[in-house]
Symmetry: C2
Subunit: 426 residues, 2 copies
């Protein structure tokens, strides 16, 4: 009934997803697993067709002068396809979260009360570049009994369309509604605005991409958003740290990969161990070309290192997510100062303490207000697969609903179940 | 730094609540319980002062010509005070949710991963009339380790101020920051707009009141809102129902009280039992003066009853929350029709099936998309106290985060805890 053809398209696709979500919610575990295994088989078997579609995106990206690392993120190499196929098989092998009933207790009135896990309904996924996200989102939707509406980046449109066709065929093969996974075929940007304003079609929006995209979507959305803003992750080396362990973990947290959101961006060191610890980690950073942005006290210690790239940290550095070979470094007088600094400048994503002192460890775990808090482990572990969730649809920096890596459970909600034998309220 | 004095006040109060929330998050269980027991003692001991403050509100309400039932809702009678004092003692007796660690599992990498329950931070509570909500919100905030900012109705301002002073004294007595429970002293309506736009001060807003208030707050809020919209609750009497039980439960769900959100507003009856069941429940409704708004098929059966107030149901009746002695009645051909009707017209609050047939019961529990789904029990049980939550801060009709009655757990979030021994990502 609308004059705007794009609005009509999105409304139509939303209604189809909503209808399919009801079927998905009652789908058997067997049929959902069948769809996932069929999808894995097709991803392996139709590799040539997928790569032909992908070649069109690559060609367009190169013609448009996209930087080489960005072009690489678009590529559906046989290795990428094998990985996503394996992901589908892993999700098929996981327990079905839907219908799980927990915590049932008898109440004095005679009723028994518990909670049942059920799908959220329809989620909308807005993402950029990597076409493998299409399969990750679809496979998590299938297993969690949700429908989803996918909106990938325009630069990956041919790849996404080709992958989506396999998803729909696999759903059909398993007797499930192909409409359960929808893909917005147009690259018109207005489609995003329509999708995030449609509570009748979408229960939650999950954006994956740059901070700008996510902030804009959160601001404009008329449906709930599971947000992932920045990852300004800290490593705090306590006075009671095992320093060899601290060197190993800090090095890994910063340098194992620079671009992930769970890489460390800031290092806090207790004054009592700074003179011993900093030269060791500083030498590694210097050797790996990591620039160190220091407060005055840490700079004084690191100054003596040969070949270190040092700079004075500004206030802005404490809040920065570099995603690059740069780290900010600050000495602290005690645990309180470390916790206060992290809660003030951090992004509530992932923060780690290196310490052998139990009371300090427990205070750090309790008082650092982040989605993941770690002891004597690399921040790089903050990841759905590493946590045992099988896969992740994203990492939430929100406090409500899902916090940290969001897997199958984060795509469900708990409803109350009351089992009675004719009880009434008195 | 702002020119607007009200904005400065709200900002100041928000900053104080935020600072206090950090202390509350690490408060010991003993000190939180001490504050709750001190509050209970004061509510009982200072009953005269509270009633004097309450008398000012009652007087103003009567002078303003407020209807008698609304004036009654304002009253802090000794019975009301005894009930809220007892509520504080019950919350003190409950386990502390904060710091609970669950689901810790060893991962192949060597790290152990689990989840820890922590306070949300600061919640804002916007409510109308009943001053006892001030104590309910404060006591749940204290036990859950949160700070809160309360904004009661202007008609209860003197009562709320008097109650709040007792809360602050009790916090102080227990060595906790009195700023953990803030009350907005001005009755200026602009204060609400400022509160719901202050993510730096407030982590979540919980409005309690009419649908209009809640819709407006949800629309304008810049922070997450735990919403409770309407309660259009259904009772579905299945073909396989125990009809004596169905009569007892349906009667209770509709007539035990008319005003609560968990009272039944709509009755669906399977055709196979309608001729037997409807005259029985209809006679009770007729005797209690409950108007029945019927579809054609149910009207035909009920027509034969003496003294029944019957009307033809319109489409609007299926979606209506009457909160009055009115019920809509419809016959359905099967379970699918019942489920579809509830999911389409219901408000996703609380719905019950009366049936002895296990497969129908399980399908109803799984497929009705409501915060509470019940079998052979009155919808009136949808309540935090009846569910064993101790008390409730509200009932959520949202799907994300907390669903249904929201107690201590709903005021907390789960963060990930990673316990390592120097593990790094490979």
């Amino acid at each position: 009934m609308t004059a705007n053809p794009l609005a009509a398209t999105i409304a139509h696709l939303g209604a189809a997803a909503r209808a399919a979500s009801r079927q998905m919610a009652r789908a058997s575990t067997a049929s959902k697993n069948l769809a996932l295994l069929a999808l894995a088989r097709r991803l392996r078997g139709e590799s040539a067709e997928l790569q032909a579609a992908n070649a069109r995106d690559i060609e367009a990206a190169e013609a448009a002068g996209l930087a080489a690392p960005l072009v690489d993120r678009l590529r559906l190499t046989p290795k990428v396809l094998a990985t996503v196929a394996e992901g589908c098989e892993q999700i098929a092998a996981m327990p079905d979260p839907v219908g799980e009933i927990g915590g049932v207790r008898r109440r004095p009135s005679g009723i028994s009360v518990g909670q049942m896990r059920v799908p959220l309904g329809v989620f909308g996924m807005i993402y950029e570049s990597r076409p493998n996200v299409t399969i990750e989102a679809a496979s998590l939707a299938i297993k969690s009994g949700n429908a989803c509406i996918l909106r990938g980046g325009s630069e990956a449109i041919h790849s996404n369309l080709a992958l989506w066709k396999l998803v729909q065929a696999s759903l059909g093969e398993a007797g499930l509604p192909p409409e359960a996974v929808q893909l917005i075929e147009t690259t018109d940007r207005a489609a995003v605005g329509l999708l995030i304003s449609a509570p009748e079609s979408v229960d939650v929006i999950i954006p994956r991409g740059g901070k700008g995209l996510i902030e804009r979507i959160s601001r404009e959305a008329k449906v709930p958003v599971i947000k992932h803003l920045d990852g300004n992750c800290h490593v705090y080396v306590d006075a009671a740290a095992d320093l060899a362990l601290a060197v190993k973990v800090t090095d890994n947290a910063k340098t194992q990969k620079y671009s992930p959101c769970n890489a460390a961006e800031s290092l806090l060191v207790h004054r009592a161990v700074a003179a011993q610890f900093l030269p060791q980690i500083g030498a590694i950073f210097a050797a790996k070309g990591v620039e160190m942005r220091c407060d005055a006290a840490s700079r004084e210690i690191l100054q003596q290192l040969d070949g270190a790239q040092l700079a004075d940290a500004t206030e802005a550095d404490w809040a920065e997510e570099y995603l690059a070979p740069i780290i900010s470094i600050k000495l602290v007088g005690d645990l309180d100062e470390a916790i206060d600094h992290i809660n003030r400048f951090g992004s509530h994503h992932t923060d780690a303490i290196i310490s052998e002192h139990h009371p300090s460890v427990m205070r750090f775990l309790r008082e650092v207000d982040s989605a993941s808090v770690m002891v004597n482990a690399s921040t790089r572990f903050a990841d759905g697969f590493e946590y045992g969730l099988g896969a992740e649809i994203g990492i939430s920096t929100d406090k409500l609903h899902a916090r940290g890596p969001v897997g199958l459970d984060g795509l469900t909600s708990l409803k109350w179940v009351v089992l009675g034998q004719g009880e009434v309220r008195i």
